[in-house]
Symmetry: C2
Subunit: 444 residues, 2 copies
């Protein structure tokens, strides 16, 4: 008897290598341990140790957030309608001087609660005090790829400490937690610091998660200061010798893409459209990256720029903005958009053989999305509704690693009231802002 | 004793003529009949015939959807990833040949249910079989500005019939329903037909709701065919002699704005950003229109292009896209965006002295938005969260004309199960598509 059976749901099928997306209506999903064991036409007689009713639900791979600073949620709403320079120098980096380990712990729980409620089961998180973030992930029962962010001016001892974090948590929580190195960006880490980071990554057998070419302005500044684009800096310092997650890349040039393609290694780009709109950063060149075989996935970025952690919103924005920029509604079709959300995001994390498909052998990270609401009816096209109608609040049930962590919108692993009480209690302290007391200076 | 008291809520204040927006925390809203009678600091001893608990809720004016084809929801998901020409000629206009009066009645109820659940209390609806749409509004208890859409090639008898609809429903349902003339667009109505429409509007003392300059392509086509922009056509045929709602206007040129400004009459522009992104239409020149003193409001357009009726999403997209297009995060600030959503939209409908403010004497169209969810916490800025975090599903309670029509997310005037049963039952018939059997041809 299987451990878990999701009965009579509609299953999103993204198994086609050429990118076709379909829905297997009225299907049963069987889960054994932490893996999907079968997807079959529904059978009333079938049973399991635990059974979930999937009627009027779309079962799909748990969403993946390929780049976030989850705990920044504790600061959200504090930096609005300002330039990217002010956002960093007058708001975010002074605010982050207030940050404590416990803030990260409760901020991470807050963000994990929000993400679980919105169907996000895996996050690539890039922030500080990451032992506490990892502990929150362990408790929440979700999956995470964690990196401890570091700036060059913190020095090599700080870098070494982030490598120790990598060792400490790699493969923890039944393998739900993996780790990587997380230098902040080429504009805050010099070449030697990046080379030392690469050496750590190679020694540890892990990848690197880094912001790069966030805007065209950064690319231009890098060309002026270093005579190289940020992507060239990553190539020349050896970053691409290990699996790399590049956050944003709105300033990636065509010659950068050639360079990324010729690097031969695994490079993925995390696309966080809401941040780009809010901060006027431009957009990642998604089609050009995909044409070069480089994986593109969806992300939220941190909740001070986003201001939420909603991957359904990222999906919708990503799709619509590509149509808008091209002034062509026939590009970025629904199947293309869905593939980026599921298989693309899994590939950015190097987990395309583990996540992003509801298929036998894949990890049992499955969400059930309720399609019965009036905003979905009548349900002519499940895939169209998935991209253009679905709200985070439609997610009913969340399974990670074979375990139900939200059922009928009730969180089963986190104490929401306690989390909110904790983060509320620190609001006044967190909102203090002394521009001279900042953790870093933005001057790309 | 007041009829209704909303106790201890946070009240969105948009009374400032210069556009400042603030929040009066811990306030009571008193409602007598269908009007707001007072907004006062909360007082535990205060009572009323009916009392709503407003703790952790933002009370704000009911949202206004300034341009929609609500009943089109019955077709949603059936026209995706196609050019605007195909969208009309191969999908929408063939599909609409299936439309019956009863489809409009149930489609309208479906859309009204979705809008109530999302805090939309007023809609300017532009569609067919509008007696049935009006009946649905009467039953739902919402407010609507209704126009019966008509194409020039339907002839003058059809136009006369739409004028009869205007008379029949003007001021019905305690004034919740008002009406206007609704010629489809300059590219489907010739000059004489528009002049005849204006004559009806003048006789009836009502306005005109029309699509115009939807894209730059339409403006160029109009210049080629008629030697005038669509806006010039409206000006020359006398449309601007009556209050006018222009839908979309992504193809409005600077000289058009001068013309609109000099027309002297009341002109408002309905901005429906999700449709523009999905169909690659460009964007309404909001700042230029506002600089010329022309009202701009938010809209969804119909659910086949949108694909929902979510004004919170329109608000967020509108704000973010203006920042994106300008590559400047300092434009379209949170107060500016909120003002467009509330006062701007009310002004587009010519109701700026009745709707769009929580203030004594204004109509009691009030929604309570729950700010207690994890995606809102910690609540550093209510106004930032209103624009960037709020989901349609956060709306808890909806009051229109002093009457509670949704309470704790339960619809009190509509039978959701019956509505869904009805629209589901017609799906196969509605989805039939015979391109030769279309109600109109798109050839601007």
């Amino acid at each position: 008897m299987p451990d878990l059976l999701i009965k009579n749901c509609h299953v999103l099928q993204t198994d086609d290598a050429a990118g076709a997306v379909s829905v297997a209506k009225n299907s049963d999903i069987l889960i054994d341990g932490n893996r999907i064991s079968a997807v079959l036409p529904t059978d009333a007689a079938r049973t399991a140790a635990q059974v979930l009713d999937g009627r009027e639900m779309l079962a799909m791979p748990g969403l993946i957030n390929t780049h976030a600073h989850v705990s920044m949620g504790i600061f959200r709403g504090l930096a609005e309608d300002v330039s990217i320079e002010k956002w960093f120098n007058e708001y975010m980096w002074p605010l982050e001087s207030n940050l404590t380990e416990e803030d990260v712990f409760w901020g991470m729980q807050l963000g994990l609660a929000e993400m679980i409620e919105g169907g996000v089961t895996t996050v690539a998180d890039h922030y500080f005090f990451m032992d506490r973030a990892a502990e929150a992930v362990r408790q929440a029962g979700t999956r995470a790829v964690l990196g401890w962010a570091v700036f060059g001016n913190q020095g090599y001892a700080a870098l070494d400490a982030t490598a120790e974090f990598v060792s400490r948590w790699q493969g923890q929580a039944n393998g739900r937690i993996t780790t990587l190195m997380a230098p902040h960006a080429p504009y805050t880490c010099d070449d030697d610091f990046l080379r030392a980071t690469v050496a750590h990554a190679q020694n540890l057998g892990v990848g690197i998660h880094i912001h790069a070419a966030e805007t065209l302005g950064q690319t231009e500044a890098s060309l002026q200061k270093r005579g190289k684009t940020p992507i060239q800096v990553l190539a020349d310092t050896g970053v691409f010798s290990v699996p790399t997650i590049i956050a944003h890349g709105c300033g990636i040039l065509p010659e950068d893409i050639t360079l990324m393609q010729s690097a031969g290694g695994k490079i993925g780009v995390a696309h966080a459209p809401k941040t780009y709109l809010k901060l006027g950063m431009g957009l990642t060149p998604i089609f050009d990256l995909q044409a070069a075989g480089i994986a593109v996935g969806l992300a939220t970025d941190g909740p001070v720029s986003n201001n939420t952690l909603d991957i359904f919103e990222s999906l919708r924005l990503m799709a619509m903005l590509q149509k808008h920029e091209a002034r062509n509604p026939e590009v970025m079709t629904i199947p293309q958009a869905i593939n980026i959300a599921v298989r693309g995001s899994a590939a950015v994390l190097g987990m395309e053989n583990q996540l992003g498909r509801i298929a036998p052998g894949f990890l049992a990270d499955v969400i059930l999305v309720d399609m019965s609401g009036v905003h979905h009816q009548p349900l002519h096209s499940i895939t169209a509704n998935l991209v253009y109608n679905t709200r985070a609040g439609d997610v009913q049930t969340v399974i990670v690693d074979g375990r139900i962590i939200m059922r009928d919108r009730q969180l089963l692993t986190l104490d929401k009231a306690e989390i909110i009480r904790r983060v509320k209690g620190n609001m006044a302290r967190l909102a203090q802002r002394v521009p001279s007391k900042r953790i870093q200076v933005y001057n790309p």
